[in-house]
């Protein structure tokens, strides 16, 4: 949102007044649920490695001129897990997170507002309920959200569909065939996707999901898509009903992914193994190198309570609440505007 545009169109201030009210509603919701609001750093000397996102790097100098590399956090998870190990109980934070190269799309800004919360002695079914109640609270008791001509009813339970069910419903591929690369390859070929050369199962799964399934999620009611194939959620707990899947869920409204949640894996050995793998992938891809957060592993080793964590994109939530199709419209100064890109 350009400030000159705001000056000319005073009515656009409504969007930002609503944003302030939504933040208030979020706080009120978690406080009334007995959560502690925490504030953690956005700058850290080390991070937990994630190969699918790039980071921002800066430098801390002390009075003697000594320099230390510092990195902007892509999410507050590293701090929250340490607090959970320290006995915080239920916590939430509304903070800025930073992901480099996330610019140029309608749903990303390199600096964005993340709501992250963790519920202890709980499981992801409990945080699914949190999502339902939170959306209702933010919508000020109204039973519907209107987005781009679609009416989304939020008073009843949200639609809950597993990845396996979604594949069957939208592509006809049944769960016993879902992990067969040849089956996915055949589907993609029949549908004439633009795909040359060979493609891994992961890539085939993602192409099919993004083409056939994601655009249909969250219409009529919000959709909670749960239980992902294990390779897409290595840090989540394995599903008790089907070990091929892990306990993760995403919240969708009108095809827009608003939140990502896990039943957190507390096994420090497995976590460390997965993270070291991510580190290797980052190195291979020539991404910015950062120290591994060993303190994070120490916190896991000291014992994490059973918990479920959720990360919700507040800017995307605002897009849905104000019926906007571009994230620039709900940010006072978007990355594209201030960096002139």
């Amino acid at each position: 949102m350009d400030w000159m545009k705001l000056k000319e169109n005073r009515s656009d201030w409504q969007i930002f007044k609503m944003r302030a009210d939504v933040i208030d509603s979020i706080r009120h919701f978690f406080k009334s649920e007995g959560f502690l609001e925490v504030q953690t750093p956005v700058m850290s000397p080390s991070l937990i490695p994630e190969s699918y996102l790039e980071v921002f790097q800066t430098e801390l100098k002390d009075k003697l001129g000594r320099k230390t590399k510092a990195f902007l956090t892509p999410s507050p998870e590293i701090w929250h897990k340490k607090l959970l190990a320290a006995g915080s109980g239920n916590i939430f934070e509304i903070t800025k997170s930073f992901r480099n190269t996330d610019i140029g799309g309608h749903f990303h800004n390199p600096e964005f507002t993340l709501l992250e919360w963790y519920r202890t002695k709980a499981d992801y079914k409990d945080t699914m309920v949190d999502c339902e109640n939170l959306i209702r609270e933010i919508n000020l008791g109204k039973s519907e959200i209107n987005y781009q001509g679609n009416v989304i009813k939020i008073n009843g339970p949200f639609e809950k569909v597993s990845v396996a069910e979604a594949f069957e419903r939208y592509t006809g591929i049944k769960v016993d065939k879902l992990f067969d690369r040849e089956v996915l390859k055949k589907f993609v070929k029949k549908k004439r996707y633009r795909l040359s050369g060979d493609c891994s199962w992961d890539d085939l799964h993602n192409l099919i999901f993004l083409t056939e399934i994601e655009p249909k999620l969250g219409f009529g009611k919000p959709t909670i898509l749960f239980d992902f194939p294990a390779q897409f959620a290595p840090l989540a707990k394995t599903s008790s009903s089907d070990p091929r899947f892990k306990e993760r869920f995403e919240l969708y409204i009108c095809g827009v992914e608003l939140a990502d949640a896990y039943n957190e894996l507390a096994d420090p050995v497995e976590q460390e193994r997965q993270l070291k793998k991510e580190m290797r992938l980052r190195k291979k891809a020539g991404m910015i190198s950062h120290p591994f957060d060993n303190d994070f592993i120490a916190a896991l080793r000291s014992g994490l309570p059973d918990c479920s964590g959720v990360a919700l994109g507040v800017d995307r939530l605002m897009m849905i609440m104000t019926d906007k199709t571009d994230i620039n419209q709900v940010l006072l100064f978007s990355g594209e505007e201030i960096f002139n890109l």
Binding site: S11, W13, S196, H205
Partner: protein
């Protein structure tokens, strides 16, 4: 041959032999697997719009499109007549090529004509165009804060929503990206 990851909005590509224009592009970083882009592709031969998802390193072919900066002169039958700014030649563009953007076509305004294989396949718009308000109701009490708007007819016949304080004869700036009023022209 370029990679799908480098595709930008407005680019012209060869899609299975047809000329297409990229109407929109979205990127997606899956937690695992290659990064992908979701493209909204308009087929300039058939007029069809389709959504396609590609891996960012998938190869795509750009087509050789010439851009001729031209001024819109007038409409006759179903032809929109433009004049090339450099050569002064008159170029007739079929109505169906202009169909999607005709509300932004205004006499005297400059446009980019995209030419492929000697045919105009698209008309490129400036980001913002200034129009004069030809007709609008006088608002009883202009309220600049509540966000109420009213319809106004522009000097090319198109109708858009404007703030209540806008009067007939005033010049306004319209964004061709959103089709909406963005401000008054001083």
């Amino acid at each position: 041959m370029i990679k799908a990851g480098s595709i930008t909005k407005g680019m012209f590509l060869d899609w299975n032999g047809d000329p297409v224009i990229i109407a929109d592009k979205e990127f997606y970083n899956p937690g695992k697997g290659a990064a992908v882009v979701r493209l909204k592709i308009k087929n300039l031969k058939t007029g069809n719009v389709a959504k396609e998802v590609l891996r960012t390193d998938e190869g795509v072919e750009e087509i050789d499109v010439q851009l001729k900066k031209s001024q819109f002169l007038y409409k006759t039958g179903d032809q929109f007549v433009f004049m090339n700014n450099r050569s002064y030649e008159q170029i007739e563009v079929d109505q169906k090529v202009v169909e999607d953007v005709k509300q932004f076509i205004k006499e005297g305004e400059e446009y980019g004509l995209s030419i492929w294989q000697d045919e105009v396949i698209a008309v490129l718009l400036p980001k913002r165009i200034v129009f004069e308000i030809a007709k609008t109701e006088q608002a009883i009490k202009g309220d600049t804060v509540t966000g109420s708007t009213k319809p106004a007819t522009l000097d090319n016949g198109a109708v858009i929503q404007v703030p209540l304080f806008i009067k007939k004869g005033e010049r306004v700036i319209v964004s061709t990206e959103t089709g909406q009023y963005v401000g008054r022209k001083n």
